[in-house]
């Protein structure tokens, strides 16, 4: 049977030996992570974004690279999933995007801070993560949110596919927070719709519709697109 001194020797060899291997692997890892994480693309905006991420303990609700808490979505590929437009609107007023649902703290970010946060996520999204997060392998074949405008002649504006359908459905696809947008052109006049899109609170105080801060061009394009949607043309 093992003696106490042999047991001690086993402990010492295991500890020293495996610490050595671990340090060696660490050195090798350090030589590779620069390329794997595209450290050359880690500009000042990305670093500022990381500071904002840490200063507000975003990890206290979200996960990033799968690390954090499990109260809010995983954000490694958030730029791919949502698009920058959507993120800009969301970060301005998170609760407006999901009225009555789980709340995110309203941080009152400036536009510059929002761009930094997005740059940080964009950088994170490009890291070679050995395949995490994996694409859902049992997902239904159709893409859940993106709307293709192929059926109608007029192409849907980019902002429609990235922002509006997160809450509204259109031709059977999209979110269910706000009313469906099919036939919306029958229900409103163009200038009413345009005012609504530019400042929902002015039209209906207390509405859950978020302030989207769209540019004039985007407003024109979106209004034109929505006014072209008629109930009869839908089906």
């Amino acid at each position: 049977m093992l003696s106490k001194s042999q047991a001690r020797l086993f402990f010492l060899i295991a500890t020293v030996g495996f610490s050595g291997v671990f340090l060696w692997l660490t050195i090798d890892t350090m030589s590779q992570v620069g390329a794997r994480s595209h450290v050359d693309q880690m500009n000042e905006s990305v670093v500022r974004g990381k500071e904002i991420w840490e200063r507000n303990n975003c990890m206290g609700c979200h996960t990033l690279l799968g690390e954090g808490a499990y109260y809010a979505p995983e954000l490694t590929k958030v730029v791919d999933r949502r698009g920058k437009e959507w993120m800009r609107v969301f970060l301005k007023d998170p609760q407006a995007m999901y009225p009555g649902q789980r709340k995110m703290v309203q941080y009152d970010f400036t536009d510059a801070e929002i761009e930094d946060v997005i740059a940080f996520f964009e950088w994170i999204g490009r890291i070679d993560t050995n395949g995490f997060p994996r694409e859902p392998d049992m997902a239904p074949p159709t893409a859940p949110v993106q709307v293709s405008a192929a059926s109608s002649g007029d192409a849907s504006p980019a902002v429609f596919g990235t922002i509006c359908v997160a809450c509204h459905s259109f031709r059977g696809k999209g979110g269910n927070v706000g009313p469906a947008l099919d036939g919306v052109g029958d229900r409103y006049k163009a200038d009413t719709l345009r005012t609504w899109l530019s400042d929902p609170q002015a039209v209906k105080p207390g509405t859950a519709m978020p302030q989207l801060n769209l540019s004039d061009d985007q407003l024109d394009e979106l209004t034109r697109f929505l006014m072209a949607s008629h109930a009869t043309s839908g089906s």
Binding site: K4, T29, V33, W53, R55, P73
Partner: protein, 456 residues
């Protein structure tokens, strides 16, 4: 027994009492989060989820470390057979740790923190923690040195605490890259809980088994070496399971997978060791409940840390479960089994020795053990069902995060109910703690800390 053996045991008592307060607060924040998951987030404006979460986990870390420190202030003088090197320093160290902990906790409510999981304490306070821990290590180190009685148990405990202090430092380096930040954050978090804390755990369990089972010290300490040897053999490279998906090379999938698979061995060793020694003991110590917590700790650490850790540590599983409630499932039973129960065992053993009262005969002791354990196992079950459902719906079917959270919110009702049961168990434990009262008085004429009249 009507006098206190060592003045430092009063400090140990103060640490243990602090543990009970911090644990109570930890549970309160846990409930806040459980209700928030059910949609009852009325406190959102004042205590948003990230505040509750940082408070919950950091309170855990502080009370466990506080418990280790209290245990050291109890065990080290007893092993060295002399008073602690400086009683005054020990009191200062206790007081300053409480101040740092309370400051950090309040800071979390005012967005003063670092958003780095488990290490949320802001940097200025980190430096205070370092000074505090240095004072602690100096004190117990000098005690061992002056006592000139170098037992394996005492040295393992010292080594564990020293290594824990050293490993805190990589967590204080600032990195611009999230990948490096994460890489070295795990040096603290993983190498603590699946490395050097197990050294502390092994040492405290050894001390308790020597005292409670009457098995020969040489045998117990021999197995202590084997277990901590297994811990490092598996645990150091087992850090690799945190390096699967953070931008580190692909070989970590294999290294992490293989060595994580070995990690349960150390905990299995711990479980078999406590059970075997407890059965083997010739002496029947009156304090059965301390032995119950010791054996329970060995077993539950294997189930929670070893078995449930293994359940989602292999890369092909982890790619789906990483960052879901499955992690919370493993985390709760692991910390409870390995480290919370360890502190409860130590407190359960030390209180009658400190206070001279035999409250371990009180009925509430065993009820505290069973009710809290059943509650925690049920909580783990609730997390497991919620976590596995989340993995399937979100990671495999591709449903939206919030829709999935709606689908699993019912399991949080189960969680809160189980947590209520757990809380009753903890309440009973604290009630017994209060029954014991404060420590005995020291007999004044203790001329120096020399060995006059050591009862042996």
């Amino acid at each position: 027994m009507n006098q206190l053996k060592y003045e430092s045991w009063k400090v140990a008592w103060a640490f243990f009492a602090t543990c009970m307060v911090l644990l109570t607060l930890q549970i309160v924040y846990g409930f806040i989060m459980g209700f928030a998951h059910m949609g009852l987030d009325g406190l959102h404006e004042w205590i948003p989820f990230n505040t509750a979460r940082a408070s919950h986990t950091n309170l855990l870390v502080v009370w466990l470390l506080g418990g280790f420190m209290g245990s050291a202030y109890y065990i080290i003088p007893d092993e060295a057979q002399r008073e602690i090197w400086s009683v005054k320093l020990a009191w200062v160290q206790w007081g300053s740790l409480v101040v740092v902990a309370v400051t950090a906790l309040i800071g979390f409510h005012f967005n003063w923190w670092e958003g780095r999981k488990f290490l949320e304490i802001p940097r200025p306070l980190d430096y205070l923690v370092v000074v505090n821990v240095l004072a602690f290590l100096l004190n117990i180190g000098m005690t061992i040195l002056k006592g000139k009685r170098y037992t394996t148990t005492a040295l393992t405990l010292l080594a564990g605490l020293l290594a824990a202090a050293l490993l805190y430092l990589p967590g204080m380096i600032t990195f611009d890259s999230q990948v490096l930040d994460s890489y070295f954050r795990w040096w603290v978090v993983h190498l603590w809980v699946e490395g050097v804390w197990e050294l502390v755990m092994g040492a405290i369990l050894s001390y308790l088994l020597i005292k409670l089972s009457g098995v020969d010290r040489e045998i117990i300490e021999k197995w202590l070496y084997i277990i901590v040897g297994l811990t490092f053999l598996s645990g150091i490279l087992g850090t690799g399971h945190h390096y699967y998906w953070i931008g580190t090379p692909r070989y970590w999938l294999m290294v992490g997978g293989v060595f994580s698979a070995l990690e349960p061995l150390a905990f299995l060793g711990m479980a078999l060791y406590t059970v075997a020694m407890a059965r083997r003991g010739g002496r029947r110590h009156d304090n059965r409940v301390a032995l119950l917590w010791s054996v329970g700790c060995g077993i539950m650490s294997f189930v929670g840390a070893g078995f449930l850790g293994f359940a989602h540590t292999l890369p092909q599983v982890n790619v789906y479960t990483h960052g879901t409630l499955v992690t919370a499932m493993h985390g709760h039973l692991a910390f409870w089994g390995a480290y919370a129960m360890l502190n409860f065992a130590m407190i359960g053993y030390a209180l009658p020795e400190m206070t001279g009262r035999k409250a371990y005969e009180h009925w509430a002791n065993e009820w505290a053990f069973w009710v809290s354990n059943i509650g925690m196992v049920a909580m783990t079950g609730a997390f497991a069902v919620a976590g596995i459902t989340q993995v399937y719906l979100e990671r495999r079917v591709g449903m939206d995060f919030l829709e999935v959270q709606d689908a699993v919110s019912v399991h949080f009702l189960g969680l809160v109910l189980a947590a209520s049961l757990f809380t009753i168990g903890i309440g009973l434990f604290i009630w017994v703690f209060i029954q014991y009262g404060t420590p005995l008085k020291m007999v004044v004429a203790s001329p120096s800390a020399s060995s006059t009249g050591n009862p042996e």
